[in-house]
Subunit: 193 residues, 4 copies
DNA sequence: TCGTAACCGAGACGGTACGTCACGTCTTCTG
DNA sequence: CAGAAGACGTGACGTACCGTCTCGGTTACGA
C-alpha cells in the first residue's frame, strides 16, 4: 500500500516557506530555471518534503500561484456587459503582463507533456474563472444583452481565448487599451451591419 | 564569435535523415520524450552534426514539421467567407488532432522558455498561415462580406485563436462538426439581433 | 566555493565497488582505455557518485591501487644492506612487471599534465615507500655500512630511480636477476678500486 | 593495398610550418593542450596533411623537438670523465627545466599508452644520446677512469636515470649546482671508504 | 512522562540527457 | 590535381536535475 502521508501532520511553516520560495524563484529567475532543489534550498527544506506533498515542481508553483492570486472573485457586474468584459480583459492582460504571466505560461508549457498537471491547471485555475464568467454571462443573457442561443461556455472561450492565445504565441504585444474595441467586434460580429 | 559553419557544405543525406528521424520519433514517443541523442542515433548521425546546424531539439523538430507540412497553400476561396472559414477551421482541428498537433503543442511549450524558438515558431510556422488568411479576409472585406473597420489581422486572431487556445489548455475536446456554428457566432456577434 | 560533500556520508558499498571496478578494468583493458563512464557502469553506480568523491579517473585508480597494494610495510632488514636493497629491487621489478606496473605508468603519464595528481601520486604512493627506505638507510649509515655524508634521500633516488626510469622509457626489459650486480655498482662506485 | 604516399612529394613549406607551429603551440599552451586541429590551423594547413605524414600529434611534436634540438652532438670530452659527466648533467637539467622539458614529459606520458610512439621516442631521441655517452664512457674505461666490468650502457642509466626520474615524478626540484657531488656519489659509491 | 512513530533537514544515491571537445576519416571546392 | 577547409561519425567528457533513498534529530500524540 501507498504510505499515504497524513495531511494534518503537514508542517505549516514548511508549507508556507515552500510556496513562497517557489513563487519568488519563479519570478526572479523565470519559470523554466526553477528546480525542485532550488526551491527546497531557498525554503530551508528537504527535497523529500516537497515530493511528499507535490508530484512535481509545476504542481508546487501552480499551488503557489493560486495561493498568491487568492480565491478568484472579481467578475465585475455594472449591468453593462460590454464594459464589464472590457474591464475584465484589461485586468487579465495586466495581470498576465507581469511576472505572473510568465509563470502561467510556464505552467501551460509543462502541462503539454503532463496530463495530470493539465487537469490541475484547468480545475484549480482556469475553471473557477471560466465558471464565474459563465454566471455573469448567463445574467447578461437573461437581461437580453446577449444571444440566448449561444452557450455561455463558448462565449467565454471566444471572448478570452484570443487573449491567452496571443500571450502564449507572442504574435503581437498585448495592449490593454483597445479591449473595448475588441469586445465590440465580438459582440456585434465581423459582418457589416 | 561563433565559427558559423557554411550551410553550403551541409550534407544532404544527413540533413534529410535528421528531419525524418526527428519527426518519426516525435510522432512515436511523444514530443517530450524525444532527445537529441535519440534523433542522432535514429538518423545514424553524430550528435555534433545536429548541434552544428540547430540550436536545440525544438529547432530540429520545428524544421521537420515545416518540411513535412510543406509549403502552406490551402486557404479555401469559394466566395463564401463563412463557409471557407468553417472548412479551414475543420482542417486545423483535424490536422492538430493527429500526432502533428501533439508536436505543435510541444513546440509551443518549449517556446515559452526560449525566445529564439518562439520567434522561429512565429515566423516560420504561424505567420505564413496568418498572412494567407489576412489576404483571404481582405478579399472578403472588399467584397463587402466583412466589416472594413476591423483589421484583418485581428480577425484572424479572433477566428482561430480560440481553437489554438483550446488545443493548448484542453478545456474541452475539439469537435470539427460545429465549426459552422462557431463561425456564425463570430461573424454575427454575440448580441441578439 | 565547492560544496565539499561530507565524507562521513559516503556509501561504503559504492566506494568499494568503484575501487574494485576501476582496478579490474584497468588491469583488463589497460589504463588508457578506462573511462569514468565504464567504471561507473561496472560498479553499478552513477557517474556523479564518482565525480563527487574524486576529481578524475586517475585519482580513482590511484586510490584503488593504494587500496590494493595495501599499507606499505615491507622494507627488508636482515642487517645486510646490499642484500636488502637487491631483494627490494627485485620486488619492485616483479611488482611493476605485472598489470600493476602498467597502471602505475598510466598514473605517471597523467600526472605529467595534472599537477594535483602528481602531488597525490607523490604523497600517497611514492613518498611512504621512499620514507621507509630512508629509515632503513639511516640505520645502515649508523651501522657504518653506508657513507654518512650522502643524504639518504638522495641514496634512495640513486638506487631506485634508474629502475623506475627504465620502466617508463622501456629502454631495456627489466630483469630481476641482476639486481645484486647493480647494487654493487652503486655501493662500490663506478671507478676502479 | 595501403596508399603509401611518396615522401618525395611532401610539401616542404607545409612540413616546416607544421613542425614550427607544433613546437610553438606546445611551448605556449603546454603539451597536453595542443590539438592536431590547432597545429593545422596555426600552420595554415589541412588536418589531413598532418595525418598523411604522422600518426598522431605526439609523433609530430617528437619530430619537431628533434628538429629543434638538432642533431645531437654535445658530449663533452676534456679527459676528466667526472667533470664531463657533471657538466652534461647540468646541461640536461637546464635543458629540461625549460619548456622543452615539459614537452619531453608530455611525450613520455603519451608513450605510456602508445608502443609505437615509445619506440620512436627511444630510437629517435633517447638512444642517440645514450649511444654518444656510451662511447664517451668506453673511452674513459680505456683510460682507466672507470671500471671495466660494468657495461657502459648500464653506467649511462645509473648516471642519468635518476635525473629523468626526478623530472617525471617531481619528487624534488632539480638543481644544476650539485651535479658534481652526485657524480661523486656514483663514481665513488655509497659505501664508506 | 515517556516511548514511539511520523515528519523533518540534509544530502548521497542510480540515472538520463545535456552540450562540448577532439579524434581520425571523408568530401568538396579552389588555386 | 594537390591540398586547405571543414563536415562527418564517434565516443568520452564533466554538469545539471531528476525522483528515490538513507540518515539522525525533533516533534507530538497516546499509553
Amino acid at each position: 500500500m501507498a504510505p499515504a502521508p497524513n495531511p494534518d501532520l503537514r508542517n505549516q511553516r514548511s508549507h508556507r516557506a515552500i510556496l513562497d520560495a517557489a513563487l519568488e524563484l519563479a519570478a526572479r529567475d523565470g519559470y523554466a530555471k526553477v528546480t525542485v532543489e532550488a526551491i527546497a534550498a531557498a525554503a530551508g527544506v528537504g527535497k523529500q518534503t516537497i515530493y511528499r506533498w507535490w508530484p512535481s515542481k509545476a504542481a508546487v508553483i501552480l499551488e503557489a500561484l493560486n495561493d498568491r492570486t487568492g480565491p478568484f472573485s472579481g467578475v465585475p457586474d455594472t449591468g453593462d456587459i460590454a464594459a464589464d468584459i472590457a474591464v475584465a480583459a484589461q485586468g487579465v492582460i495586466e495581470a498576465l503582463g507581469t511576472g505572473l504571466g510568465t509563470i502561467w505560461r510556464g505552467l501551460v508549457a509543462d502541462a503539454q507533456g503532463d496530463p495530470r498537471l493539465a487537469e490541475s491547471l484547468l480545475n484549480d485555475f482556469m475553471e473557477p474563472r471560466n465558471k464565474a464568467w459563465q454566471d455573469r454571462l448567463d445574467k447578461a443573457v437573461a437581461a437580453g444583452e446577449l444571444r440566448a442561443d449561444v452557450p455561455t461556455r463558448t462565449m467565454v472561450e471566444l471572448l478570452f481565448g484570443p487573449i491567452y492565445y496571443r500571450l502564449l504565441l507572442g504574435t503581437d504585444p498585448l495592449d490593454p487599451d483597445n479591449t473595448t474595441t475588441r469586445v465590440d467586434y465580438l459582440l456585434n460580429g465581423l459582418r457589416p451591419h
